[in-house]
Amino acid sequence: MSKSDYLILIGPPNSGKTTLFNWITGYKKQTVNYPGSTVDLSFGLVRQKKAISSWTLVDTPGVYSLSSPSSEGEVTKNILKEAIKNKNLRGIVLVLDATRLKRQMVFAFQLKELGLPVILALSMYDIQKQESPFDLSTLSKQLGIPVCPIEGLLGGGVFQLLDAASIHFKDRPMFPASARTRFENSGFKELAAKRKKPKSTKKLAPMKTGITSYGHKISSLPSDILFSTWSKKKQEEYLKKAKKIVDKVSIQKATDKIGKRTRKVDSWLLHPVFGFVFLSLILFTFFSGIFWIAQPFMHFIDSSFSWGADKILNLGENRFIWNFIANGVLTGFGAFLVFVPQVFILFLGLYLLEDSGYLSRAVTLVDGPFSRIGLSGKSLFPFLSAFACAIPATLSARSISSKRERWITIFVLPFMTCSARLPVYALLLGFLFYESSAWKPGLIMSLIYLLSLLLGILASGILNIFLKSDKSSSFLMELPLYRRPVLFSVFLSSWSRTKHFIRKAGPVIFTFTLIMWITTHFPRYPDLRPEEQIQKSYAGQFGQMIEPVFKHIGGDWRVGVSLLSAFVAREVFVPVLAVTLKNTEFEESTGKAFQSPLTETMQKARLADGRPLFSTASILALLVFFMLSLQCLSTTGIAYKETGSWRFAAFQLISFNVLAYMGAVLSYILLS
């Protein structure tokens, strides 16, 4: 990173750091009502009233204190150490949840005691205000640091926070004398002697609260000393003190209305029996909704693209350029974009699940059964995020404290139906349930999702038997309050993720469309009939080479080429298949390419011997292949990075794909 000054956001999980980060930097990082949603650092420039300052704001994974033992904690501690070492720590914004101040305040004492430059952002103040407002100036005096209330949902208090930060951290902060003496008494005298005396001791204008800012420059204190663990006694003392302070600054007695509401809902949603019933219902509704709700939108997109391609071909099918646009570009993108409404609804559903606070309940419910098979309840968060994409999901497994549970979780993640598989499944199901009403494919779709979860669970069970057991697994989590998600921002975030999904796939699809169109049209043999021309084209020749491999799962070379392209990105399977079929299948009456939706073209596609290319057996074999295969090499890359073991990553890659191929062959043989 650049050498600009860091303003570091630190605080317990789910306290609202990322929300604040987004307000200050203008980014749209995902904020989730689940402790442990951020697992990595984010950097962004501080923007204030359209002006961009040179300070860099850093968002960190949540930690309860600097002595917290967790792997995300390391990330936070490391950036702090690094910033102190590089002397570019401008200041720390400690973000504490106002509604949980009694126990989170200990963190403020710790930072203060270490002599770190800190101001307090009191988030969730909108909620706290309703219950029992605080006397903020007294709080600030008691803590000895500026306190800024934040109402994160609407961005209230953000400017004031930045103002306070710019006054308080104007000069580069330093360690006050107390920290220096403590340090010098702690056996590091020689080191300290070598260090130069601080130059300026200029005092800054006092804050309204009467607290003076730090006047010296930070000296490079060996940063390890900062993070030694606190004694139990000291923490007890501070917890007691925190309680006293909160009682003192509370203007009225808290009514705890919001907490009561949450607990009432929980008495049902966390019921030992009904809890599981609700969980299944919620998941089922979510998964099947993906298919049902999207249906009319998909239909609209599909017919628009077919209509467009038809119009363009009417301009002259024999002109290469029109043919390429219609049968290449439009066909490819149309086939892919049809499924975008489903992807959007998937993101929307995930977001609602996560931001309402229900996710933590689901995690709580499944921890019991999951712990029996080597997983943690917290594995459910990566599992569900893997329904969007396995890569961030692998990262989010960091919130699982036991290494064994984390590794098993990462290993089985690729079973989850990621959004890139969604277009493929939707297409295959669309074929299987051609011209039948939408509830059937919707039902099967939700079963596929549940099945992928079950497969993951089954695989964990198997791994659990073979892996050495590990005692360090522990599970301890707070249950956040339920929150009504702000619909506008839910839509906005889901749309921004969908856009990202489209943008990522766009170039790959275009490239493959281009390749497939050219290789099916060249070399040119103008005298041959279209079918023979295809046989002799580059794609046809290559296809015959690979065909034997795919014969066993009921496909021909065209399926083979599409499957191979799916190793670049799974979602590319659909457009490549579309372009390949459109350019290799011709209507008997006219000898022209089909201008019909892809499922229809699939119905009409023939093998060389005249049998239909797609049958129930071959489609199911493809489904099985996609459910079991690990085609996404980025997932392998990230699995290697997160586990640090190439053996793990290689074993995962190979075992998944061998299993997928065998599974597909077996189901084809059994079904045909």
Partner: protein
């Protein structure tokens, strides 16, 4: 009655008198605001007693059975 939280019946208020076990777990408990004298109550046990939902102040936490075992408590009434 003095026992570990693991054996505390549901809905009975108790006071924490000791945090035992590995540093990893005790530190985690402290982070959650659990210390000596904290008043604690088991709201519900889930999945054949493998998880405990507990109440501290007006917040709810969930923990596994063997974490509950690290907390020594004494009933209040």
């Amino acid at each position: 009655m003095t026992c570990s939280l693991k054996d505390l019946p549901e809905k009975v208020q108790a006071r924490v008198i000791d945090l035992q076990g590995e540093l990893f777990t005790t530190q985690h408990l402290m982070d959650m605001g659990i210390r000596n004298n904290t008043v604690i109550k088991v709201i519900r046990k889930l999945f054949f007693g493998s998880n405990y939902i507990i109440e501290i102040g007006n917040e709810h936490l969930v923990l596994r059975k063997h974490v509950a075992q690290c907390l020594k408590v004494t009933t209040l009434f």
